[in-house]
Point group: C2
Chain length 494, copies 2
C-alpha cells in the first residue's frame, strides 16, 4: 500500500466510451474523485450505464468494505478535467493525430507529477510521446473490457520512460485493484492483443470459408480451452500436456505440427461487405436474443462468479483480489467494529438465475445459503475464519429459526445485516436480516445459535478473551440496538 | 435420453496416456464397463492417476447421484478390449501409419455397430478412413484435457460418414456429460486446435524475441481475456465491444488493424535447441514449484469451481451440466415410499464433494437444501407440484426451525423423512428428519409451516377438499405417530 492510495485523489478521464467509462467506474468505486471529459453526444449516458454495471458487480468481489463512492463529474473541457488530477487516462479513438492533439492539451494543463496513461491498444508509447513537451509523463496503461472487473492492465513506458514513474503508476493501479503487467520492450499492440488478434484472424478465416459459424467457434472456446486459459494461460496448461518428460519434450513433440499447413497464417482475409454481413448475421443468430445490456450483465455475473472461485482458491486473478482485500482491510481498519451501533451490514449480492424456483422466486434454501454466507462474513469480521479454523477452532451451528416474509426475483439486489443478541466464550446468539436493496424491504430473517468448538475433539470449548475481542466489542455496541420482536419465537407462534 | 444410455455398456480405450486415461475415467464414472489396452510400461499407473483425479473432481459437478462406478480392466490385446464394446476410442500417438494399423486391428475384432472414435488432434477423418475395411465406422471424437472435466468434444465424420451414426455417437457422448460439436466439413486440426495454434505460434515469437516470458504471456491471458473466453468465447465478447452500433460496425472498425504488422503471421519461429531450452527454463521458473500432480489438482479444482459458477448461471459449459443433471435424475428415478403409518421416507441421496465446508463436513445450507428438496418431493407425493403450480396455486414457506445434531462427510449416504404434524385447507405444519443411512443416526431436523396460496394474488387461500385428499390421508395416518419433542421449540430453549 502506498500513501498515495489512501488519501483522497482525483482521476481525469478523457474520452468516455466503454473503456473510458470503465476506468471512471473503477476509480470512483475505489473512492477517487472522477472528472470525465468527452464532447460526444451520449457520452454521459454511456458512462452512467457502465458505472451502473460496475456498481452491480465490482463490490461483489471484495470481502471487505469498499471505500465510499465519490460523485463523478462531467466537465466541459480538458483543462477542468485534469486540474489537480493524480491520474489522467486518455481513451479517445485510435487515431494517432487525434491522440497527439489531446495529449498536448492534457500536458498544457496537468500537474508535472501527474501520470498520463493512454488506453491505446495499438500504439507504442514512443509513438504517443513523439513531439510531446514532457515525453516521460505519457505511458501506455492498456486495460481490458470490462475495465471495472478484469484486473489486467498492460503498462508500457517506452524508451523515454523512467523507472520511478513506472513504479508509482503501478502502485496507483494496484490501489484500484488492478494487476499491472509491465512490458520491458515496447511492441505494436503490446502482448494480449497480439494473442487475441491471432485467434481473431483465424476465426475470420473459418467463418469466411464456411467451416464454422461464430457460435460454433465460440463454443469451441468456452466449452474447452477457454476454461483452461481463464486460470492457467497457455504455457502452464501445455506444461501439463508435456507430462513427466517436461516442457522441452512437449515442444520438441509439438514442433513438427508447426510446419503443417493447419492455419492460414500467411494471409489476411479480405473484409468484404459480404464477410462483414455474414459475421453480423451469424452473431445476431447467436446472441441477438439478448440486448447488449443483458449480455453485459450476464458477462459480469459470470466473471464475478469465476473470479470469486479463483479467489477462494487463491489462484490467478483470484490472487489479485485477495491481495486487494488486504489493501481494503487496511484502509477500512476497524471501521466495521467502530460503526457497530446498528446491525452490521455484511453482504451485498444479487439473485442468480439458478436460484429461482418453479414459482419464479428465489427458492427457499437460497435464503439459507445467503444467511450461511453471511455467517462466513461475520466470522471474517471478528477474525475467526480460515486461520482460526486451521488452528483448530471454529463455530458450529446448533440451531436456526427462519421466517420468510417476501419474495425476490431474478437479478434483484439484496443485502444482509447481523445483530449480535448475546455472546460469551462458548456461544454466539445472532439475528440476521435479509433486505431487498431497492426498497430496503425485509425478505427474511434468521436467528441462529452457534457453539464455539475444538474441531479436533468436536467438543464445545471456551474461546480466549483475545480471540473474542472484536466479537465482544460488537456485542457491547449491539446491546443498545432494540432486540428483534421475533427473537425467541418458535414455529407457529402467533 | 437414449435407450443406449441407460443400459449397461462397455467402452474400449486403445492407448492409455493422458487422453486415453481421461476417456477411461469419464466412461467409468458414468457407469460404463471399461477395458483399456496400452502396451507401454507405466500406462496402467498413468490411467490410475487420471482416474483418481477424475474421482476427486467430476462427481462434484453433478447435483444428482452419478451411476455406480464400474471396475476398469487392463487387457493384453486389442481383440479383448474391443469385444462387446459399444464405443471404441483410439488415442495412440499422432502417427498416421500407426493409427492405420491400430484402426485395422480394431475393425477386425469390433462389432459392426460399434462406434470407433479417434482422439486425433491433427488428422482429418478421411485420412484415418483411407484404406479402412469399413470407413464410415471411424469418426474423429477429439476431446480436451482434462477429458473427464471439459465438456467439449469435436465430432467429425468426414465424407464417408453417415448422419445416423453421427447422431448415435453424439447421443452416447452426451450421455457421459460431453458437448459434441459436429463439424460439417473436415479440416486439418478441426476448430479449437487451429485457434490455439495461432496463439501458440505468436507466443513462441514473443518468447523468442525476448518481449515476454512464458509467465508474462500466461498472465496476459488469465488476468484478462481468458476470463472472457471461458464464458463467451471470441465473437460474443467482441459483440459487446461493438456497442450499440453492432457487430458489423465493430468489424469495419477493426478492419484496418488487421492490415497492420502486429503479429508475425507470415513466418514460423525455428524451434532451435536454444528456444526450446529458453521456454523450458522459463516454464520451470513459472511453475516448477509445483509437481505435475499438484498442478493437475489445482487446475481441476479451478475448473470445478468455474464450471459450478456457470452451472448456477445456466450459461455456457454450465448449461451442459444442467442438461446432464436432468439425465441423471431420470436415471435415478423416484424413491418415495408410500407407507404413511410412520414418518414418510422422501429422499435418498449422498453428500456431494462440493457440499463440504472448510471444516470437512457438509456445510450448513446444504442441510437446508436437502430439506427444501424434501419439500419438493412431498409436494409431488401429495399431487401439488408442477401442474398444481401452473394452475395458479402453491405452498409458500412461512417459517422454519432447524436443529443440527451431527456432521456428515463426503459421499456418505443419507435419507429424509417427513411427519405431518397438522394440516388444514390453508396450512401445512410438517417435521422433516435427516438421517445417515449407514447407522440411522439423526443429522438434523427441520420444522416448517407452509401456507397455501393463490400465486397470482400472492394471498393465502383455501385448497379444495379434492386437492387435499392425499395430504389429509397422510395427516390422519400420522396422527398416531408420536409428536416430536422438538416441535414448537424456539431457538435457545433448554
Amino acid at each position: 500500500m502506498t500513501d498515495a492510495a489512501v488519501s483522497r485523489q482525483k482521476a481525469a478521464i478523457i474520452g468516455g466510451g466503454l473503456i473510458g467509462g470503465g476506468w471512471a467506474a473503477r476509480f470512483a468505486l475505489h473512492g477517487w474523485d472522477v472528472a470525465v471529459f468527452d464532447p460526444h453526444a451520449g457520452a454521459a449516458e454511456r458512462v452512467a450505464e457502465v458505472l451502473d454495471n460496475a456498481r452491480k458487480s465490482l463490490p461483489a468481489l471484495a470481502d471487505f468494505p469498499m471505500p465510499a463512492e465519490r460523485e463523478m463529474s462531467f466537465v466541459s473541457n480538458v483543462a477542468e478535467a485534469v486540474a489537480d488530477a493524480t491520474w489522467i487516462q486518455e481513451s479517445v479513438t485510435e487515431d494517432l493525430a487525434l491522440k497527439h492533439s489531446v495529449l498536448a492539451e492534457i500536458q498544457a494543463h496537468a500537474a508535472d507529477d501527474a501520470i498520463i496513461g493512454s488506453s491505446t491498444s495499438g500504439f507504442k508509447p514512443s509513438q504517443l510521446q513523439n513531439g510531446a513537451s514532457k515525453p516521460a509523463q505519457i505511458i501506455v496503461a492498456h486495460p481490458f473490457n470490462p475495465v471495472y472487473l478484469l484486473p489486467l492492465v498492460e503498462v508500457v513506458a517506452g524508451p523515454a520512460g523512467d523507472a520511478e514513474r513506472t513504479r508509482r503508476a503501478c502502485d496507483l493501479l494496484t490501489s484500484i485493484g488492478m494487476q499491472p503487467l509491465v512490458l520491458r520492450k515496447e511492441i505494436d499492440a503490446h502482448l494480449a492483443d497480439r494473442l487475441m488478434e491471432a485467434v481473431w484472424r483465424e476465426g475470420l478465416w473459418l467463418v469466411n470459408d464456411d467451416i464454422a459459424t461464430t457460435q460454433e467457434i465460440d463454443d469451441s472456446i468456452r466449452y474447452g480451452f477457454g476454461l483452461r486459459w481463464a486460470q492457467m494461460g497457455l504455457f502452464e496448461t501445455f506444461r501439463l500436456a508435456g507430462g513427466k518428460e517436461g516442457m522441452a519434450h512437449f515442444i520438441r513433440q509439438f514442433g513438427p505440427a508447426l510446419q503443417w499447413p493447419w492455419t492460414k497464417l500467411t494471409d489476411v482475409p479480405e473484409l468484404t461487405e459480404e464477410l462483414v454481413q455474414k459475421i453480423a448475421v451469424q452473431s445476431d443468430a447467436q446472441s441477438g436474443q439478448y440486448t447488449l445490456a443483458e449480455l453485459e450483465q450476464i458477462r459480469d455475473r459470470n466473471l464475478v462468479g469465476m473470479l470469486r472461485v479463483l479467489k477462494e482458491r487463491d489462484w490467478g486473478a483470484g490472487q489479485v483480489l485477495n491481495a486487494h482485500d488486504g489493501f481494503l482491510a487496511a484502509q477500512a481498519g476497524d471501521n466495521a467494529v467502530h460503526d457497530a451501533s446498528a446491525p452490521l451490514r455484511l453482504l451485498d449480492l444479487s439473485v442468480l438465475p439458478a436460484w429461482i424456483d418453479y414459482n419464479g422466486h428465489m427458492t427457499e434454501f437460497r435464503y439459507t445459503q445467503v444467511f450461511s454466507d453471511s455467517c462466513e462474513a461475520l466470522l471474517r469480521v471478528i477474525g475467526m475464519h480460515d486461520d482460526y479454523v486451521a488452528a483448530g477452532h471454529s463455530y458450529y451451528t446448533a440451531e436456526t429459526h427462519t421466517q420468510f416474509f417476501d419474495e425476490v426475483g431474478v437479478n434483484e439486489a439484496m443485502y444482509t445485516t447481523v445483530q449480535i443478541l448475546a455472546a460469551d466464550a462458548k456461544r454466539m446468539h445472532v439475528f440476521y436480516r435479509l433486505h431487498a436493496t431497492e426498497d430496503d424491504r425485509l425478505l427474511a430473517h434468521l436467528e441462529a445459535m452457534y457453539l464455539h468448538v475444538d474441531t479436533h475433539s468436536g467438543k464445545v470449548c471456551a474461546a480466549t478473551a483475545e480471540d473474542l475481542r472484536v466479537l465482544m466489542k460488537i456485542t457491547d455496541a449491539h446491546s443498545s440496538v432494540p432486540r428483534p420482536e421475533a427473537a425467541g419465537r418458535c414455529v407457529g407462534q402467533r
